[in-house]
């Protein structure tokens, strides 16, 4: 159950309380997030929408431990991450977060197999176990036959599927998707969203996704809108589509 009023149960998988994020730009303070609350349970699929500059990506970076809030707390599976040191946060990311980026962010000099294997290099798995995991992940995204291809030899949709395999291969606690279909045509975007949806429904993954696209947002269980630095509940994903896009 996703809540944004700060009254969620204490054992929520992700619990955000009173989150503030302020940037300084040329002596001016820009408050992007203000007293933001959020509760996400295991297996939830939530989409964040909002106009450009509303703080969607900032929120995603904070949830993924890539940035630190000005105030407030983020607790994931019982771990309060906002006060972790840089090294500890890096280790936490490796264990708990699977990232899916708009531009896929695959390493161009590595094959699909090697890209997917990267997160496993941070585990204690043996080489043969790593191979099994990578083959499984690539099988889930339907690219078992492309594992020796380099990113430049794949289509955009295939690249994003490799990125998804990389995100799920180490079985993270949750997936963070930043405009996962933003660089794809409609057909490829639909395939990617179908895949992410399957990860939630069939594999029980928890997914938090930022998107501009209301059609994409309909695949989420809940769509939250970022308005003036806070999350607003109320519109379902379907209503967003009918309203014609971002708030």
């Amino acid at each position: 159950m996703i809540r944004v009023d700060g009254t969620g149960k204490s054992n929520s998988l992700i619990q955000v309380r009173g989150l503030d994020k302020t940037y300084r730009r040329g002596g001016e303070e820009i408050q992007v997030l203000q007293r933001l609350n959020l509760d996400v349970d295991k297996g939830d699929f939530v989409a964040f929408m909002g106009p450009s500059g509303s703080g969607k990506t900032t929120l995603l970076n904070l949830l993924g431990g890539l940035d630190v809030p000005t105030h407030g707390s983020i607790t994931v599976a019982g771990d309060e991450i906002t006060h972790m040191s840089g090294n500890k946060l890096t280790q936490w990311r490796a264990r708990h977060v699977g990232f899916i980026f708009q531009m896929y962010n695959l390493l161009p000099v590595l094959t699909a197999f090697q890209n997917v294997e990267l997160p496993l290099l941070l585990t204690k798995l043996s080489k043969s176990d790593r191979r099994k995991h990578v083959e499984t992940a690539l099988g889930v995204v339907g690219l078992a036959d492309r594992m020796n291809h380099y990113p430049r030899q794949l289509s955009g949709g295939q690249e994003q599927r490799v990125a998804i395999a990389r995100a799920i291969v180490a079985d993270p606690t949750f997936l963070l998707c930043d405009e996962p279909t933003g660089d794809l045509d409609r057909k490829s975007a639909d395939e990617i969203m179908e895949l992410i949806h399957r990860l939630v429904t069939e594999h029980g993954k928890t997914v938090l996704m930022v998107t501009h696209d209301p059609v994409v947002a309909t695949r989420a269980d809940t769509t939250l809108h970022l308005e003036k630095g806070v999350l607003v509940e109320g519109k379902t994903s379907h209503e967003s589509v009918m309203a014609g896009g971002a708030a």
Binding site: T90, A94, V109, L118
Partner: protein, 389 residues
């Protein structure tokens, strides 16, 4: 676990055009570094190989070289009866020697250069046993005949077998060519000591040095004790190999320091080349680095990865530098021997140890050039870099 090495290898390969600047800079620097050191090694090896552990050189006490030494005929007579000197069928194996300089035109330029003339005893080959006549024959005592070292023959005009040359007040015929195994003697011209002294109006009763063949290498101390304790003598006794080793020190140091200075200046340039290459690598791969950091690779892993990449580039540069100078090995050149003011031919001597030093030098340049860019790679903001195009 670290970022896989294959990432660095393939990245270097993919960016070979910008990598080539750093590789070329490091290769050039390592090439000069090894060439200079091999020059110093060659010079030292040439002089050191001139000496033998079985021989002792006797000079006037306090003399720093044969050129500043003088041993009288009376002293020679005392020396030849001293213990520790090997004896042959014709008596003690010793050669009182006169060392002179003569200007002879170089084959290459036609300009005069000093050649070391050595007046020796006819039994000199029994004392310096690693030297052999390879063409012609030994000079006959009492005749104006010369035997010429093979490098001297190749370097100077008029020293081929059978030719005659005017030296001092006499004309001399070249009757033999000798091979001294690449030592300094190969650059010398030898003749009868009495006749050479006469041709240059020098007293026949004075030699510059006396070289003796020891009864055994261990007999040096016995000879030394005997000669230095004798109140009629004022001499230093040195094992021949130590004498030549000491003679090489000044020039070797000069070449090494000069070469080191040149290599250092070039190294500074090469380090900037490596810095430039690595900074551009970091700048071009900002999003890749941020992605790896987002995936959970720590700052240390990124620093190590980029340092390895810099070391990889410098290793390739170092290897190419080594390969580039290898053809110099054995190539003969000549320089002034400041101890005798004569021209000395010697060969570049590139040893495996020098090549290893060259590689380490290259890796040091890579390490210095890679460190700052590697730290920058690890310290950049991850969140914004992830969205870089």
């Amino acid at each position: 676990m670290a970022i896989p090495l294959i990432y660095n290898i393939r990245s270097v390969k993919a960016r070979w055009t910008s990598t080539i600047v750093a590789v070329a800079g490091i290769a050039g620097t390592v090439g000069v570094f090894i060439a200079m050191l091999s020059l110093a090694r060659g010079f030292r090896a040439t002089l050191v190989s001139s000496g033998s552990a079985d021989n002792a050189l006797i000079t006037r006490a306090g003399a720093t070289s044969e050129m500043t030494s003088g041993v009288s005929l009376d002293s020679v007579k005392i020396i030849q009866d001293a213990p520790g000197i090997a004896r042959g069928a014709n008596g003690p194996l010793l050669t009182p020697e006169a060392v002179l300089m003569a200007p002879i035109p170089l084959r290459s330029t036609g300009t005069d250069a000093n050649v070391e003339l050595r007046g020796v005893s006819p039994n000199v080959f029994a004392i310096r046993r690693n030297i052999k006549i390879i063409e012609g024959r030994m000079f006959q005592p009492g005749l104006s005949e010369l035997v010429v070292g093979k490098n001297a023959m190749a370097t100077y005009s008029g020293l081929t077998l059978g030719s005659t040359i005017g030296l001092g007040s006499a004309r001399w015929q070249v009757v033999g060519i000798f091979d001294a195994g690449g030592s300094a003697f190969d650059s010398e011209v030898w003749g009868d000591a009495h006749l050479l002294n006469g041709a240059y109006n020098r007293p026949d009763t004075l030699s510059q040095s006396v070289t003796v063949h020891l009864a055994s290498p261990a007999a040096l101390q016995q000879l030394k004790d005997s000669l230095t304790a004798d109140p009629r003598l004022n001499v230093d006794v040195t094992r021949e190999i130590d004498y030549y080793s000491k003679q090489s020190t000044r020039m070797t140091m000069l070449i090494t320091r000069l070469g080191g200075f040149v290599a250092l200046i070039m190294a500074i340039g090469a380090v900037f080349g490596a810095l430039n290459t690595m900074y551009s690598a970091v700048a071009e791969r900002g999003r890749e680095i941020a992605t790896m950091r987002a995936l959970g690779f720590g700052a240390a892993a990124v620093v190590i990865s980029f340092l390895i990449e810099a070391l990889l580039i410098s290793f390739v540069g170092g290897g190419l530098g080594c390969l580039a100078v290898l053809p110099l090995n054995g190539l003969t050149t000549s320089t002034m021997n400041f101890q005798t003011f004569s021209s000395l031919a010697f060969a570049f001597k590139i040893t495996p140890e020098l090549l290893v030093k060259g590689i380490f030098f290259a890796l040091t340049m890579g390490l210095i050039g890679g460190l700052l860019p590697a730290v920058r790679a690890a310290s950049g903001p991850v969140a914004s870099a992830l969205r870089e195009l």
